[in-house]
Amino acid sequence: MTIALLCAALGDPTRADMVDRLARGPASLSELAAPYPMTLTAARKHVGVLVDAGWVDRRKSGRVVTCRLRPEPLGELEGWLSDRRAFWSSALDRLGSALERDGS
């Protein structure tokens, strides 16, 4: 699971929307597909991309495929974002110190 993969998977609006839907609770494949004008096969492909990227777990019981959001990706993205933010925030502090130290 990498940040690039996670984000690439959400690059498609239908998949971003599906992740949003799953954040409200698990759903069957047909429930997930229902809002979109696409075949179940097309919806299954989108879900497949989300599964490959690590966003979604897919379980089959009988004839029903249930999809649920995995908790890890959001934590991963938040950690990544806070690392980047911390890097730049402290860099701009150091820039301020350097500007002061070196005088005008």
């Binding site: 984000c7 959400l10 954040a23 990544w80 980047r84 933010r85 890097f87 860099a91």
Partner: protein, 134 residues
């Protein structure tokens, strides 16, 4: 929306001219004075500051670099930012430098991965493809 917004903005005001601040981002020796988080690490900057030019900062074993997308001295720099040690795709950093009453304001905007730019989107697709092939 539950999908996190991976962009952020930092806003600082410095008691220095826009020219000086711009120089601290574009002159290799001046940039080496502040960029590295660890003062113990020897830091070298190679900055080809022109649109399409590459930049690279080596801090001991840590290397980060990218390329310049917009270069408008002394007010604006837009560049991609990519750590070499990870497989995360590049992000885009925009630095806007504007004179204000009490000094110079610097706004640094960090753009989410795969944002509006088609190029980043493609870059991410290639990362994905590499992983599938590799």
């Amino acid at each position: 929306m539950t999908v996190p917004d991976l962009s952020f903005t930092l806003d600082r005001t410095y008691a220095a001219s826009a020219d000086r601040i711009y120089a601290y981002f574009t002159d290799p020796d001046l940039m080496a004075r502040w960029f590295c988080p660890n003062p113990e690490l020897p830091t070298t900057c190679a900055l080809d500051v022109r649109p399409g030019g590459a930049w690279r900062v080596v801090m001991g074993d840590w290397v980060v670099g990218g390329s310049y997308l917009q270069v408008e001295p002394p007010h604006r720099l837009v560049f991609t930012f990519d750590w070499e040690h990870d497989t995360d795709g590049p992000t885009t950093v925009t630095v806007d430098i504007t004179p204000v009453a009490d000094g110079t304001r610097l706004v640094l905007a960090h753009e989410e991965l795969g944002g509006s730019g088609h190029e980043e989107g493609w870059a991410l697709s290639f990362v994905r493809l590499d992983q599938q092939l590799g």
